[in-house]
Symmetry: D2
Subunit: 312 residues, 4 copies
């Protein structure tokens, strides 16, 4: 087995972000160098607190760096309706006993990428503000990043507006910076994550583990499901964020296609849309690998197996 | 059987428009009061000529009215790459022996709707310029139109840009006028028509009729297929426009859902997109019935049966 | 003296439109073929009524044609705060004894231009909707129009938004059509009309005529002044619309400069702005003569002299 | 006399930026804590070099911090046509013997503002990228800044497009961040600086000093004038940037008015415009003091007097 791949998780936990942290920290193929937090599903203070809580549940000592509390340009929108007031409503949440590091998330990203040129994979599962700030403060680092694997956007419909997915809409200018940076980039959007529904049988996979971590994940998924039932009439929530880490662990479970993606910054009804050139009508060179198909059973099995490694 | 439904076909023939004319004129459930032409797939002179040609092939004396030669606001784009120079490349085309009426298409629409309040169904299968001009010149008529059934737009990807379908992109301001008019409106977009592929076996249905009209339709479909093969890798062309008349004849073959559709007029990368609120995230009242599912076999069988009524 | 120049006044009276009608009808250099009305300062029903009233005050039999009751594309805004509920608040208004013609304003414009190719000057002093509808319905007429002299837009600040003047903002898509039509075009915007303030001494010029028409004009100007005092702190209203006819009568009183003007259709904060390339930074060819300087004393003297010709 | 006011000059030298450095460093009322550089008139490498050169000419040891080499969101435009290839074409330029500090301009701004809460005045005379990066990285500092005095924007016409001034157009998203930050803000735009023309007599004021610094300033002004002659037909260049420091030194020479300014981010023809609500038509609370009048003779005299303090 090759050396573990060094990664930074950039998140706005958020139920599915929390599951992604647990998945990454349970995966020997990865070495998680840090968790960086960003506003998003809820405010930065709460996403940061939720990162600290999840780290504690994972019994990890990975450092946590707080980042942007608002988008690069526009005003903040929030997603409290989906994730509850805390951002992790559902399970019982412990009080975190350790805090964040002093460094800004963007500074940590810059420093780490420079220290490991060509090696670092960034895994943002929230608005791309921290990554964009890092890329603008240190234009030298984009060519030094190994890969960015982002959960966000959509090739079909949005979820926050008819056109736009939440992470993209929450900071489209940041997305524009990252998609224009030349960095190797994978976009995992709603069109993919809507193939990964945590319906009751899949929630049961985690409940049946009989461990605290299994119960925590099951509680997260169960809470998350309620919103999806209301809006889409589905019997489970789309488990967006863990597709990122799962894709790095098992690319064979997924299909990705190269295409050009432009971020809509128009201020019109499609503001924040990831306009994906699925049929290559623009003639523009691809700037992203876009996930188009998910082996959902394989994905949930992988996730269950990794969560199962947490102690009882 | 009830009295036939009076309709006006507003078109930019175009292969699939021509098939739609033939379908409508062969359907006793409809009474076609006129064909109105608009720029679109090719310039107005050629779409008008193609309407005249198709009328002649159908041995019909329905009047033809020429309309707008350019969009309501923006500059003209054209679709010659898809439809060939004539707009009907493929079959042998006769020289039309009868011309158009003197009245402008918009004036004909206004006069006809006023003469039959609550009765007229408009079936546009090109840019909506003529309908928008009529609605702006005579604001009294929108409440008098029975229904508009339009081929255009998309709830997922576009075909002329990643975001926009051709008929919508060709005159989005006109689409905005029609979608904002309060008229009962059905939108049949690419998401529907991409379910109606004229693959070789389906083209054979028409060839096998052994009639001149059957051969004409088969030739149209065969030519149209080539473009789709190149772009999408499909083994046939999507038969967009005849879905409109087919939907009026046999609504049971289709699923439509009410939703709010906003036209993107931003000038950005999603300009011309029919932003459809599939998941009702905007809270805006539906302004259109949007087709979401097509029984393709049923549709092609219907079309074959009607084309079969043309004499040998 | 050469034959009088045939003109059509297209208006949304409106105090200054009414004065423009009186000025034109008192000027032997012009032959007013018709008044066409458009929504604008108030709704179409009232702008049309105000045109009829003003015609009656002028003891003229020029025909009046009602036109568009709403903009080409967007929703209607209104200017009642400036012009009062009637659109002509201030003077006593007679009840008009004669009505409009049956023809739509756009149809009248089309018919008249075709009948007098190269001769007709259009003088719109409201939103450009009627002219745009005519140009789109009959693309052949733009090259047949002698000249369009429009009051609207601004090279500096707006009055309805910081960026946009009312007539331009009320239908920017129509303005886009006209500015893109290739027609010889003069734009008289706020930057010019703000040089033509009807301060009390100038109002007195009309009051002192001692005629009913002089009193009518004085009453209009006095009412109009109040709004300007509130907003700008000026001691009189800017007499926008009559600059159009005055410019045709006495071009020596004005400076115009050729420049490229683009209409902002972005939907952003500058929507409706007439973006004028005063310094030729775009390299685009001029599409309009833009008025930059007004000899205000000369203008008011001219106006007074013509109003003085109305009988006591 | 009170303690000198601590300031940071954030610049993209640029002829007028260089004059502003010399003015500030010759003014005992100010304590210049640092020069921060940004891309703009030319690329960051050259604006930084020009800051170093100007510091050397001023015989100052103020630290220089390099900042952003590109805008916050969009792609870079440049102004080489105006400032020559070096960005300081015209005078003989010495080779700088001392370099920049290691810290990023934004980090220096953050650190300095936090160390002197409520005291620091930022004087940006280029694109606002560094200030915006600082405000987004450290949202706590906007309330700690004493004042921002920016040269940029315009209440009337632009210079890079018909609508937009160069510094605003070069990074409108950064301007949006700063104008939305709540910081006390003065905007000195083209409408003001076009009142401060360095015509030959005024250039002579500096030439006549008979000092190297006087000659340097005269050479800068003379070169800068050529561009203005070509474009505007003026007999001198508008001396934009030194109005900022002059305003802090002698506010009595200027008129400023509070108004709301919105940055146009539409992507349309007014993109980058500082849409200034001069007539308070929006009802929005002012977010800037906007300079409307300049006592140009007083300004040039002040500048001459300060440049005169440099040794012979
Ligand atoms: Ca997330
Ligand atoms: Ca068609
Ligand atoms: Ca008017
Ligand atoms: Ca500068």
């Amino acid at each position: 087995m090759s050396a573990p791949r060094p990664v930074i998780l950039d998140l706005d936990p958020g139920h599915d972000d929390a599951v992604n942290i647990l998945l990454a920290l349970a995966s020997p193929e990865l070495r998680v160098l840090g968790l960086t937090t960003v506003f998003g599903n809820v405010g930065l203070d709460r996403t940061t607190r939720n990162a600290l809580i999840t780290r504690q549940i994972a019994r990890s000592d990975v450092p946590v760096y707080a980042g942007a509390d608002r988008p690069l340009v526009q005003a903040r929108i929030s997603a409290e309706a989906v994730h509850g007031e805390s951002g992790l409503d559902g399970p019982h949440l412990p009080i975190p006993t350790r805090g964040t590091e002093d460094e800004h998330a963007a500074a940590f990203i810059i420093r780490t990428v420079r220290a490991h040129p060509g090696e670092i994979t960034l895994i943002p599962t929230g608005p791309l503000t921290n990554v964009a700030l890092a890329f603008r403060l240190a234009p030298d680092i984009a060519p030094l990043v190994r890969e960015v694997v982002w959960m966000g956007g959509s090739t079909d419909t949005g979820n926050w507006t008819p056109a736009a997915e939440f992470n993209a809409l929450a900071d489209p200018h940041a997305a524009h910076v990252v998609f224009g940076s030349g960095v190797p980039l994978t976009m995992i959007g709603l069109n993919a994550s809507h193939q990964a529904i945590a319906h009751p049988a899949r929630v049961g996979l985690f409940r049946d583990l009989g461990t605290p971590t299994g119960a925590f994940v099951a509680d997260l998924l169960a809470f998350f499901a309620e919103h999806h039932l209301e809006r889409y009439g589905w019997d489970g929530g789309a488990l967006h964020d863990p597709l990122t880490v799962a894709y790095l662990l098992r690319p064979d479970l997924f299909t990705v296609q190269p295409m050009h993606v432009q971020i809509d910054l128009s201020g019109g009804p499609s503001h924040g849309r990831t306009v994906a050139d699925l049929w290559h009508v623009t003639g523009k060179a691809p700037n992203a690998q876009v996930m188009t198909h998910v082996n959902a059973d394989g994905f949930f099995q992988l996730l269950r197996d990794r969560i199962a490694t947490y102690p009882a």
